[in-house]
Every structure is written in C-alpha cells, then in structure tokens.
C-alpha cells in the first residue's frame, strides 16, 4: 500500500538526527525535530523545519518519552516517525504506539522488533531458517547451575550476555569454572540496572573472532537485498571504533553465502525496512549469527559509499510503500570505505571521557571524505548523551587508498576544548597488523599502549613554544578562548599528567 509522506518527526538527536533531516529535505519532506532542554541550541534543532522541546536533559525524560514524542507528531500532523538508532529505535512498544496513532513508523513492524529484540528467541527463529548460530543456551537462564551444565557440554570460555540489551552492558567472558559464580551475578545485576531485565543467556565464546555484519534492505512486498558486509572488529570495550567495507577476509563465495544468510534471517522475521545482521567469523571463516539490529546502524555510511545507495532515502521510500528500485544483481559494489568514530575521550589517559565546550572545530574536507556530525564549534559535549562527536568516513578505489585518505583527513581534523580519540584511530590505521588485515576483536587490548600514540615532533613543540611565548609577551591573555576541559590538574596540584592516569581508569 502506497502512502505519501509529507512530514517526518525525527525522534533522535545528534548526527543521526541531522542525517535523517537532510534526507527528508532531499525527498521534499518537512522535518520535525524534538529536543531536550540540554539540546535547544543543537544542529538538529537548527536544521529542522519545526522543533519542539520534549523534556529535560536525561534521556528518559525526553528522547525516551514515548507519549510526549507521539503527541508532538500528532499535533504537528507528522505522517511518519524515524527513530534513528539508540533511544527508541528498537522499542517494539514505541513502534506499536506510533502505528496505533495512525503514523508511519520508519522501520520494521513491532513483531519483527520483538522477535529480534529477545536474543534467545532471535537465535531460535533464525536457526529454524537454517542460519548458523553460536552454540548457546536455547533459553534465558537465571540459575548458575544451568550455565555449569552448558559449560560441561561446550567447555570454556563462555560468554554471558543480557537477553534484553546490547552495547556491552551485562556482558561477561568466563574463562574457567572458578570465575563463573561472580561473573554470573555481576552480569545479571548489570542487565537489571541497564535494561530492567535481569535475564541473561550463555553461549560458547569464540576466541579471536571477527565481528562482521551485513546490511539488508527489505521492502513491504517481500523483496530483500543485502548491501554487503561491514568489518567491525576494531572495538574498544565492546564499542566499535573503526569499521570498513569490504572485509579483507571475505571472498566472493563467502560474501554470497553470508549475504544469503542475512537475507534468510531477515525473511525469518518477516522483516521490512533497513536492518543489520551481526555475525562472528572465526579463524576458519565459519560464521555465526549473533543478533539482528532492527534499525539504521551507526556505521551505515561506509555501505552507502561502497554501493552508491542512500540507505536513509530507501528507508523512507520503503516506509511509503515503494518497491525497492533494484534487485540484488543491480547493486554495484565498488571501492573501499572506512569509518572512524571520533569520541570525546582521551587516549593518552585511559580513554577518560571528556566533557566541555568545543571551543574550536575545523573538520576535514577533500575527495573521498564524508563527515556526519551533530555538534558544532561552540557546542557542548555533556554527560547526558553518547560522547561521539563525529563519524569521519573515507572512500578510496582500494583499501590502501581509503586508509591513506582517512589518515590524511584525521591529521587535518582540529578539535580543542575536549580531548578526542583521533591519535588512537591513527595508531590503529598505521599499525602493521591492521594494514595487513590480520586482526580480530581483541586487536585493541592486544596491541594498544598509549606510548605508541604519536606526539608532536621536537620542531612542532618548538613552534608551539614560540607561539605561546609570543602570545604571553604581546597579546595579553584576555582575548583567548578558554577550554573548560576538565583536567586532573584540578584535583591534585602538580605532576598532573602522571597522576591523572593513576587516579582515573
């Protein structure tokens, strides 16, 4: 059934809200932004046609306030809601209420969200469709004895995961029977506090796996295509930092088999719209379904650059009841794309989160460089939301060209006011193992040490010394903008660089 969209409420903030608002404008739709009291100056508010405050800074009082958001959609006569990622994007109740309000939900049906939202149920569902999964408990477990029993069959190491959540919360790796009881308790309590649901499940832990996911698009007529894989193994504390496509370990045959698996998994849940099937791939290139993310993914831009397909445009068109304008064989994969997530955290200092005002921001440009960003110079990185400042994406005809462009763009990127992880991403991009493509999800813990981070050369330091001395001597200090980045110098009076790393982990 076709239904024209004229106005879209974007139930999100930051870069993804900006991304979606732009797509709306390109398709001729008006865009309605919502914002919390902390975000009234933010780019997504500036860019939208209409903008409404939905509550206080804390997410649950604003970006998670289902009824208030639907009220705004109703009162502005928005005919669709795009949830972005995070927040309410995988909340089946929200999707349900949106539909009940007579509004298009730009995403899958509530039943599909529900089916994939429970990790245990999802595994059962796709297993039945012939998709390989990691050996694990078929149901959520609440008794540590069930876990011990599982371990007797499949051995250690094991992974305990929250049934409800994602992002590393409630996740524990258990290497031996002795560690199990405390790890099980900890995982349960973390799951409870993070998701309000203490259930966990247990699975065989694959050592040295690669995290590889497939993007799919499904229209409402049963047409499903995949847009190839994304290699997401470069993670820190289960948080993706660098993603690329294609993966160096996939050949055409494996890509075709995994693509077919991804399409089968989507079909099993009667899936509509954009979704991502996350897999682990072991050293022998066996792959296992991990979970399906029933929403737009943070790292979708690399797929857009490699396929030339605008995924958000397609999401909105699918939501209007349009058929996919291409079949699998029409999709031309070309070149290589990489994304670096620029986070407000200090790689010299144990990745200490960094908050404050961005007093200076000069992004990179140039051939092959795309940036998705939802904050600008003068903006705040606050404690309330995700500390991601920017997604920098590079395209090249080859992997080495894409890496070279990314390195160049990262070196040009300038931010002052908060510390950022750019030196860390440069460390990864220049590491021989990364350049060879020989890495897995343990890359960071195995190879990273702050002493490997690049620091200014002696000549660069001298230039800094000269300019600051000139400033002191000539200009006075009054006209300089001041950073309010919190440094440990405020806690202990001296030698702060050393002490900060001791005090804060």
């Amino acid at each position: 059934m076709k239904r024209q969209i004229k106005k879209v409420l974007v139930a999100n903030r930051g870069e993804i809200a900006v991304r979606i608002i732009r797509a709306c404008h390109e398709l001729g739709f008006e865009a309605v932004a919502i914002f919390s009291e902390a975000d009234r100056r933010n780019p997504h508010v500036q860019l939208a046609d209409e903008a409404y405050c939905v509550g206080r800074a804390a997410s649950r009082e604003s970006y998670l306030a289902i009824d208030r958001i639907i009220d705004v959609a109703r009162s502005t006569a928005a005919d669709a809601i795009h949830p972005g990622y995070g927040f309410l994007s995988e909340n089946a109740l929200f999707a349900q209420k949106v539909l009940e309000a007579g509004i298009i939900f730009v995403g899958p049906q509530p039943a599909s969200i529900r089916a994939m939202g429970d990790k245990t149920e999802a595994r059962k569902l796709v297993s039945a469709a012939g998709v390989p999964t990691v050996p694990g408990t078929p149901d959520a477990v609440s008794d540590v004895h069930d876990v011990q029993q599982f371990a007797e069959s499949f051995g250690y190491p094991l992974l305990i995961k929250a049934a409800a959540g994602g992002g590393g919360k409630g996740m524990r790796i258990v290497h031996s029977a002795g560690e199990l009881p405390s790890a099980f308790d900890a995982a349960q309590s973390e799951a409870l506090s993070a998701f309000g649901d203490a259930r966990v499940y247990v699975e065989k832990y694959l050592e040295n796996p690669r995290h590889i996911e497939f993007q799919i698009l499904a229209d409402t007529y049963g047409n499903i295509v995949h847009l190839g894989e994304r290699e997401c193994s470069i993670q820190r504390r289960h948080q993706k930092v660098i993603e690329e496509t294609p993966s160096v370990i996939l050949d055409d045959d494996l890509r075709e088999r995994m693509g077919a698996m991804a399409v089968a998994a989507a079909r099993a849940s009667n899936y509509h719209n954009a979704g991502t099937i996350e897999c682990l791939v072991d050293r022998d290139r066996h792959f296992y379904f991990l979970e399906m993310n029933t929403r737009l993914q943070v790292e979708h831009p690399i797929t857009e650059l490699r396929t030339g397909i605008d995924i958000v445009h397609q999401q909105l068109k699918i939501a209007m009841g349009e058929k996919l304008p291409f079949s699998q064989k029409d999709i031309l994969f070309r070149g290589h794309a990489i994304e670096c997530r620029i986070y407000a955290e200090d790689p010299f200092n144990n990745f200490l989160p960094s908050t404050g005002t961005i007093v200076h921001l000069k992004p990179s440009q140039g051939n092959g460089i795309r940036e998705d960003r939802g904050v600008e110079e003068g903006g705040e990185i606050s404690v309330y939301y995700d500390p991601m400042i920017s997604k920098l994406v590079a395209f090249g005809a080859t992997r080495s060209e894409a890496i070279a462009k990314m390195v160049r763009a990262l070196r040009e990127y300038e931010i002052l006011g908060v510390r950022v992880n750019i030196p860390f991403t440069l460390f990864v991009l220049k590491h021989p193992k990364f350049l060879e493509g020989d890495f897995d999800t343990h890359f960071v813990e195995r190879f990273f040490n702050p002493s490997h981070l690049e620091v200014p050369s002696a000549d660069e330091a001298k230039a800094a010394a000269l300019v600051t001395a000139i400033l002191e001597s000539k200009m006075g200090q009054h006209s300089m903008p001041q950073t309010n980045h919190q440094s440990a110098g405020e806690w202990v009076p001296s030698k702060w660089r050393t002490r900060r790393s001791e005090i804060m982990r």
């Binding site: 992002g167 504390r237 407000a344 200490l352 989160p353 960094s354 908050t355 200076h360 606050s382 404690v383 939301y385 995700d386 500390p387 990262l410 070196r411 990127y413 300038e414 002052l416 006011g417 510390r419 750019i422 030196p423 620091v455 200014p456 000549d459 660069e460 330091a461 001298k462 230039a463 800094a464 010394a465 000269l466 300019v467 600051t468 001395a469 000139i470 400033l471 002191e472 001597s473 006209s479 300089m480 903008p481 001041q482 950073t483 919190q486 440094s487 440990a488 110098g489 405020e490 806690w491 202990v492 009076p493 001296s494 702060w496 660089r497 002490r499 001791e502 005090i503 804060m504 982990r505």
Partner: protein, 164 residues
C-alpha cells in the same frame, strides 16, 4: 630581554626575545607569523609551514600544532623568580581533595572514613557517558571525609572525598 619558560610534555624550552629577535633554548629563530583569527595562526620557520590553534586552559595553553594536541605551560622569568622564593609554601599540603572530573553518578563508594588506602586502590566508581570509571588513590593516605553517597548525581568539580 624577556624570557619565557615553556613546558611541553617533560621538556622545558626557554624562549627569549631581544631587539625584536627570538631565540629558543639559545638558538636564534627566524619566523613569519600570521594570525588567522582569535585563536588560529600559521607560522613559517625556515620555510616549514605549521598551523597552530591556541586556547587558554587551566594550566596554560591547549595547543594544536598541525593537528596534534599539546599542553603548554608558560612562566615568565619574573613569575619563576617569585615561585623560587615562595614555592616551598605549596609543598606542605598534606590534605588532598578529590573532586568529580565530570558530571556523573556515584555508582559505589569503595572506602570508609578512617580507612587507610594504598596507591592504586579504588576509592569510588562514577558513571558518566554510559561508562563506569574508578577513582583511585595515587599515594598512601587515610580517608578523612566522604561528601557523597551511592546513587547521588554530582556536578563537575564537586568535592567527593578528602584524603590526608
């Protein structure tokens, strides 16, 4: 002649200006400096071109040199002399206050008042930006006072605990 003591990382440089000429660590230095806006500069030294962005920080300056960030602290000769005479005063501090490094939620307080702590021992866990971070002692000390409780939201800079 004016001299400035510039500390970058663990290196100290002395920049002197005399008769309109600059020297670093005694070596004269020719440069062309253009200020681009209130905080951005381009400097040419022997033909090498570098972009610098400079902001004031609590300790001195937060500087980007060709995109690389450094902390720079600057002391004029006069300030250094004053400090040499009066500097001992600060060394007598025995009490140490622990402030919140950012707005956060207190997840757990790991010590009690009166408890002796060792370097590296955890004092308190804060959650900020979806991540838990542990504050640790950096020296032997005794917990003198704790100002916050589990579950409490704290503002940046708020006093959490004092050690002695």
């Amino acid at each position: 002649m004016a001299s400035y003591y510039i500390t970058i990382g663990d290196k100290e440089h002395i920049v002197t200006f005399q008769n309109g000429k600059a020297a670093i660590d005694g070596s004269p230095f020719l440069y062309q400096l253009e200020q681009l806006d209130e905080r951005s500069f381009v400097i040419l030294i022997d033909g090498r071109s570098r972009r610098l962005v400079v902001a004031r920080s609590a300790e001195g300056y937060d500087v980007l040199v060709d995109g690389k960030r450094v902390d720079v602290s600057v002391e004029s000769e006069r300030a250094r002399l004053l400090k040499q005479f009066g500097g001992k005063r600060h060394a007598a501090h025995t009490r140490m206050d622990i402030h919140a490094p950012m707005p956060a939620l207190v997840v757990r307080v790991e010590v009690e008042v009166g408890q002796d702590v060792k370097p590296g021992q955890g004092l308190m866990i804060l959650e900020a930006m979806k991540m838990e971070n542990e504050l640790r002692a950096h020296a032997e000390a005794r917990v003198k006072e704790i100002f916050v409780n589990k579950g409490q939201a704290v503002e940046k800079g708020e006093l959490l605990m004092s050690l002695e």
